[in-house]
């Protein structure tokens, strides 16, 4: 554990010693969020993280109680599923690949794809990444370990590689006339593996973990994943957004930048760079709410894109 913080008598804007900047000044490994835990209590400082884990694991559990206990609430996997025998849901990313490969799916798949598409268009594309996708558990674990071990540096590809990759995924589907990406797609492979059995897919999941841990910080979800890129495109006009509406209280501790999976989205809202309102409108934001949790000054909150107020 880090040194005890002494909050008594220090000026309000003083950078806390456990934060990213405070630790850098003292030359120790930072514990982002420590200040928030002391200010708000552990539970409130992990509120969105806990809700998110509950969502991720809950959705996974819905798929697993069928094969494990015989309670068939949801059949299938994230690629396509049938809930309670009536509600079809299909991943629109797969339908896009299918159409590129020249296959027109049956109505259930189109309907299911439409429902999912409408949800993410409305509420926020990358909600999928942070609230549903099981790979997030892996990459979050890698990012957490990276912070705890104080691993610095690494070489991540440019952030827009994923959009190029998304384009190529569709081109390859059209060129080969098959869902070529689905042979290797770690996102669908991991979820399917958990439900139907892994084979060697553990290797791909482990590869992503170690890639994120040792080579590229936030490398997979933040730079490469074409599925995330697809959902980011969906969420360009969605409603649920994070706002830095109390940005005047920011003490520049940098904790939010340390925990944010897409740290480039924070600056325009928090520091008013290139925009005057405090909303994070960048489609790369996954609305994970971790910045809300780790801020000891309660700068951030989750709101709608129509709420541009600042307090």
């Amino acid at each position: 554990m880090s040194a005890q913080t002494t909050t008594g008598g220090v000026p309000e804007r003083k950078v806390p010693p456990t934060s990213v900047r405070g630790a850098a000044m003292r030359g120790v490994v930072a514990r982002p969020g420590q200040e928030a835990i002391e200010a708000k209590g552990w539970l409130r400082a992990h509120k969105w993280l806990l809700l998110r884990r509950a969502s991720q694991l809950g959705i996974l559990a819905l798929f697993l109680v069928g094969p494990w206990l015989g309670w068939w609430i949801v059949k299938g996997n994230l690629s396509s599923s049938l809930t309670l025998g009536v509600l079809p849901l299909t991943d629109p990313f797969l339908i896009a690949q299918q159409l590129a490969a020249g296959q027109w799916p049956y109505q259930e798949a189109l309907l299911g794809g439409g429902i999912v598409l409408a949800f993410y268009l409305l509420f926020g594309g990358r909600l999928f990444c942070s609230w549903v996708c099981p790979v997030n558990l892996v990459t979050d674990a890698a990012a957490w370990l990276r912070r705890r071990l104080g691993l610095k540096g690494g070489k991540a590809p440019a952030g827009n590689t994923r959009y190029w990759l998304l384009g190529f995924v569709l081109v390859i589907a059209a060129a080969t006339g098959s869902l070529a990406w689905e042979w290797v797609n770690p996102v669908s492979m991991f979820h399917r593996g958990l439900i139907f059995g892994f084979g060697l897919a553990w290797g791909i999941v482990g590869g992503i973990f170690f890639y994120d841990l040792l080579i590229a910080p936030r490398g997979w979800c933040g730079h490469l994943c074409p599925q995330g890129a697809f959902y980011a495109l969906l969420g360009r006009a969605s409603v649920v957004k994070v706002s830095a509406d109390r940005r005047s209280a920011c003490n520049d501790c940098m904790d939010c930048f340390a925990v944010c999976p897409e740290p480039q989205v924070i600056r325009p809202a928090l520091k008013g760079v290139g925009q005057d309102h405090p909303l994070i409108l960048d489609a790369d934001c996954t609305t994970c709410g971790r910045c809300v949790d780790v801020c000891g000054k309660d700068v951030f909150r989750i709101t709608t894109r129509f709420n541009r107020s600042e307090s």
């Binding site: 069928g66 068939w72 059949k75 299938g76 996997n77 690629s79 396509s80 599923s81 049938l82 079809p88 299909t90 991943d91 797969l94 299918q98 490969a101 020249g102 296959q103 027109w104 799916p105 049956y106 259930e108 798949a109 299911g112 590809p157 440019a158 827009n160 590689t161 994923r162 190029w164 990759l165 384009g167 190529f168 995924v169 081109v171 390859i172 589907a173 060129a175 080969t176 006339g177 098959s178 869902l179 070529a180 990406w181 689905e182 042979w183 290797v184 669908s188 492979m189 399917r192 593996g193 439900i195 139907f196 059995g197 892994f198 084979g199 060697l200 897919a201 290797g203 791909i204 490469l224």
Partner: protein
């Protein structure tokens, strides 16, 4: 985007222009992403050859179309009442996540309502298939005639007995057994017109390890039809008579009362050879058994 930003406050000589930098970055990123996608595409292409023991569910589109249509959701697997179907795992040599079954492990029970086809949301399993008897999952081939017990002259018949389309998809064809010269062999014979590829014969084959009869993908199991060769007997049947007119029938001496072409004779029938006795050794000594 980038090229609209003027590099103010920066010496133009020290930094490359934003447009150039953007193009350079984009080229690098596009190249990297392209290579990654190309790798995935080539892997997919290379691995798309289905191993001969992997059989697709009933109604599956031809393999190429199937790989474009199947989203690997496993709904067919879930609705298969006999746990026949499974999703390929990475390393199974079948396209990752696609459904298949191995007949020797669990064959298809040919449900009449075909629940796997009904469950498929994408059309990878074609709902045009409503009669499971018309399914073409593969084709059974009696591939090992050296170990098949019926080919050895025994009456195993198990593949024939378990066949759900018995006497159509598999028949027992009676053949002369040249080894004993006095027995028949009843050879299990598959007819592609009726075989659905369910694999019950492969599952039931009594041989200890590998089965002598195997369901293979139709592409592996069947040759292409020789288009130039007209089968005379089929043409004759279709035309209702011979296309070249009746043949001249000449009598065969000694067989005048038999049907034309029938040369079989019963003992004592037809031209007879005078009684023949083997030569006896002179005198009454013991037969040493020696023969020249």
């Amino acid at each position: 985007m980038n090229d609209t930003v003027k590099p103010t406050g920066r010496t133009a000589a020290s930094a490359p222009s934003p447009r150039r930098r953007f193009l350079k970055d984009a080229a690098g990123v596009a190249g990297g992403a392209g290579l990654l996608a190309l790798g995935a595409g080539m892997y997919a292409k290379q691995a798309s050859a289905l191993p001969a023991t992997a059989i697709r569910p009933p109604g599956a589109l031809p393999e190429g179309d199937f790989l474009a249509a199947c989203v690997r959701c496993g709904l067919c697997v879930r609705d298969c009442p006999y746990d026949t179907l499974k999703l390929a795992e990475l390393g199974d040599n079948v396209a990752t996540g696609t459904p298949y079954f191995e007949a020797r492990r669990i064959p298809c029970e040919m449900c009449e309502d075909i629940p796997c086809v009904v469950a498929c949301p994408t059309g990878a399993l074609d709902r045009g298939l409503t009669d499971i008897g018309k399914a073409k999952m593969g084709l059974a081939v009696l591939i090992d005639q050296e170990n098949c017990l019926n080919f050895l002259g025994l009456r195993c018949d198990v593949c024939y007995r378990v066949c759900p389309v018995i006497d159509k998809a598999i028949t027992l064809e009676r053949m002369h057994n040249p080894r004993s010269d006095r027995h028949a062999m009843l050879l299990p014979t598959v007819h592609s017109e009726y075989c659905t590829g369910c694999g019950k014969c492969e599952k039931a084959c009594v041989l200890p390890g590998e089965s002598a009869i195997k369901v293979l993908p139709i592409k592996l199991a069947q040759g292409s039809k020789a288009e130039h060769y007209l089968r005379g007997w089929e043409e004759k049947e279709a035309a209702g008579g011979s296309l070249i007119g009746d043949q001249v029938e000449l009598p065969v001496r000694g067989l005048e009362d038999k049907a034309y072409g029938d040369t079989r004779v019963k003992p004592g029938e037809g031209p007879q050879v005078p009684d023949y006795k083997p030569a006896q050794p002179a005198g009454s000594g013991l037969d040493s058994g020696w023969k020249p």
